[in-house]
Each structure stands twice: as structure tokens, then as C-alpha cells.
Amino acid sequence: MSREQITVATTGLNNIDNPGPGIPVIRGLRESKSFKVRIVGLAYENLEPGIYMHKLVDKSYQIPYPSAGSEAMLKRLNYINSIERIDVLIPNFDAELYTFIRSSTRLQRMGIKTFLPTLNQLEERSKPFLYEFGKKYDILVPYSRSIFSEKDIYTLTKDFEYPVLVKGKFYDAYVAHSPEQALIYFRRISSKWGLPIIIQQFVQGTEVNVVALGDGKGNTIGAVPMRKLYITDKGKAWSGITIDDEKLLKLTREIIGKTEWRGGMELEIIKSKNKYYLLEINPRLPAWVYLAVGAGQNLPEALIKLALGMDVKPMEKYDIGKLFIRYSYEMITNLEEFEKLTQFGEL
């Protein structure tokens, strides 16, 4: 069967010890049975490994940080698109999603399609509002509260019992066993990611995760649950295994159904005494999405089909007991390549 040739641009080429989802997404697309894909990598930093992975990424361009504003981003994308004719763009970072969602109509006019959550979906599942999200959709979510100053830490015992989770708005989470520890983590996270800091009740149990894809009409196109087997000091999964948990899949379908979720997502859930507490919804495919591909659900390919307006049938089966194990690997590259990207912003 001949495969349709398309060009896909993607961010998240930082395949490091806290990896972005770009490379796993690309690996899924490379294995697509429907598309022959040209990959355009969009990088923020000139040492993102994916830039130099030429078997996976055909061409890379540096793009401005989201903090530079959407006009700067669109201007750069307009230039890249004039060369590459991008069919679909897959953003892979939480922090850039606002920019891309707000710009989706303008991107569409440029001929670039996306398949992203709505701004409302993005906002209501955000960490500061997740507890209210749980109440609205009748999903168990541990109690949480946003705090804006260090002195708020000393008021926490009114609502919380230690230990508590101290979380940044986009990234980072630490377990604090005392106000002193909470203060340390407040300072560490706020200096990096700003305010507010979210305090969430700690629930003892087993963490399980689900990677899923919603079609925006309430249907779950695919979902694969996983339990982390090895976690790095940054709390990232270094290996994991697909599991058979019908209750977890039911909860996933419930969340996608009630919210009419559009796009990729990762659910972070704590299973405690046969109850499932939703800790986070990450509004994009996670870095371990290639496990889903390996287990039989090519979610990146399905996302592309949805973006292109194609009909996608829900995938219900996947291999149980399939493992992923990450590894580190040194690429050797020439200074000329690094120079080219640094000086000209493309490689």
C-alpha cells in the first residue's frame, strides 16, 4: 500500500534525562503504515539531541521561546513553512501550548494543522484548578490549594496534614514532610517556574499512568495504561510496563467523554485502596508514548490523522506486559553541524 507523503513539524527534541516527547512521537510517525513522513524539528536550544538525529529528524530549525510572544513564533514559523510546507504541527511542551492553541487559526491559514485541546480544556485541568475540575466532573482529585507567598506555608495545617506535595504550575513536584521542607521546595520551584505554587494532599499508593488520545467529541481513540518500574531522581520513568487495568481505562474514557478532550493526554493517577485519585492531566502525549506504539497503539499516527480530518477508529487492544527501558547514548557529531545551527538557526 502506498503511503501518503506528509510533512510534520514537532517540538520536544530534548531527548535528555528528563526527555521531551518529540523523539518518541517521531519514532511512532516513522512507523506509520499510512504516512511517509518528513520530519521538521523545532528546537529551542542548540544542544537538543534530536536536532542531530538525522535518521529521525530530516531538518531542524531553532524557534523563539514562548516568552518571546506568539508574533515572534508565528513569524519564525511562517519562514520555516515557506520552505517546508508543513502539513501538521505537534507541540510537545506544556509551556508552549497556550501560544500554539491561541495561534491555531492563523496556523491553519498558513496551511498548518494542529490537533490540540481547547483553551478552556487546557485551563480547567491546569494544576491550580484541578481540584475544581474533579468536583465538576465527579472525578476523585486530592485536595489542593495555590499559594503565592512563603508565609502561606504556615497556614497550610488548617487544610492539610503533612506530607504534602509541593508543585510548580507547569513542572516539578516534591513531597514535603514539614513546613521547613515545603519552604525549601517553594523557593526552588518558584525561582524556576514562578508562581503560584500548588500544594496538594499527598495520597499514599501506587502511581499509574495512562497515555490517551481524545477525538474532541468525547471518544477515546486510544489509551494505554502503564506502571513505572524505575524512576529517576527527577521522578521520570526510566522503565515501565503496560498493565491490564479495566477500572483505570474506564476512568480514562470517563474523563475524555465528560471533557470531550481533544488531542493527546497523559493521566497521572494514584491507586490507593482500590480508589483512583487523579493527580495531574498533562495536555499532550508524554515522553513514554513510544511504549503505546510498541504495545500496538500508534497514538502519534492517530493524532496526525485526526489533525488531517481523517476518520479514526478507536483502538481498544494493546499488549499487556510490554516494557520500555530507556538508555543513554552518545552521538558523535561534527563542530560544523553545531556551528550551522548556532549561526544560521537551522540544520
Binding site: 501506587t206 506502571r227 518500574l229 515501565g240 498493565i243 491490564d244 487495568d245 506486559g321
Partner: protein, 81 residues
């Protein structure tokens, strides 16, 4: 006492719980006991079988078997009814 049918056990003694993703290992005698439980044998029948096959006293075996069964229940490999 019922065997959890979701649990997968290989001939090498590798045990996998697909619901939790947890895996365990048991030695050949542990595997033999699990197979007997799966066949629906009672504890007394298992005790008699092992006593006939291996050099062990009834007192020691009874204690070991109790501990092993407790572990299997804790790991959700057996369901205590």
C-alpha cells in the same frame, strides 16, 4: 483460597501480575505448590504430596507452607475466600 486467574506464571517460576505490572520469582518447589493450588488441591493434599516427595518433617513443612500461602495472599496471587 482461590488462585487469581489474572496472574501469569511461567515454567521458570516467573510470576506476573498484569493488573499492577508487578513481577515475582519463585523456586521450583514454590512453583510446584502453586501448580497444585491451581489444580484445586487442598492444603492437606499439598502437604501430603510434598512430604512424600521431599525430605522434610511435617512440622517444618506446615510452617513453611503457611508462610508461603500468606505471602501469596499478600501479593494477590491467591485470593483468600
Amino acid at each position: 483460597m482461590k488462585f487469581n486467574n489474572k496472574i501469569a506464571i511461567s515454567d521458570s517460576g516467573f510470576i506476573f501480575d498484569p493488573t499492577t505490572g508487578e513481577s515475582f520469582s519463585t523456586n521450583p518447589i514454590g512453583l510446584e505448590i502453586i501448580k497444585l493450588i491451581k489444580e484445586g488441591k487442598s492444603l492437606d493434599e499439598i502437604l501430603t504430596f510434598i512430604l512424600e516427595k521431599y525430605e522434610v518433617t511435617a512440622t517444618v513443612l506446615s510452617k513453611i507452607l503457611d508462610e508461603f500461602i500468606t505471602t501469596l495472599i499478600q501479593l494477590n496471587i491467591l485470593i483468600d475466600e
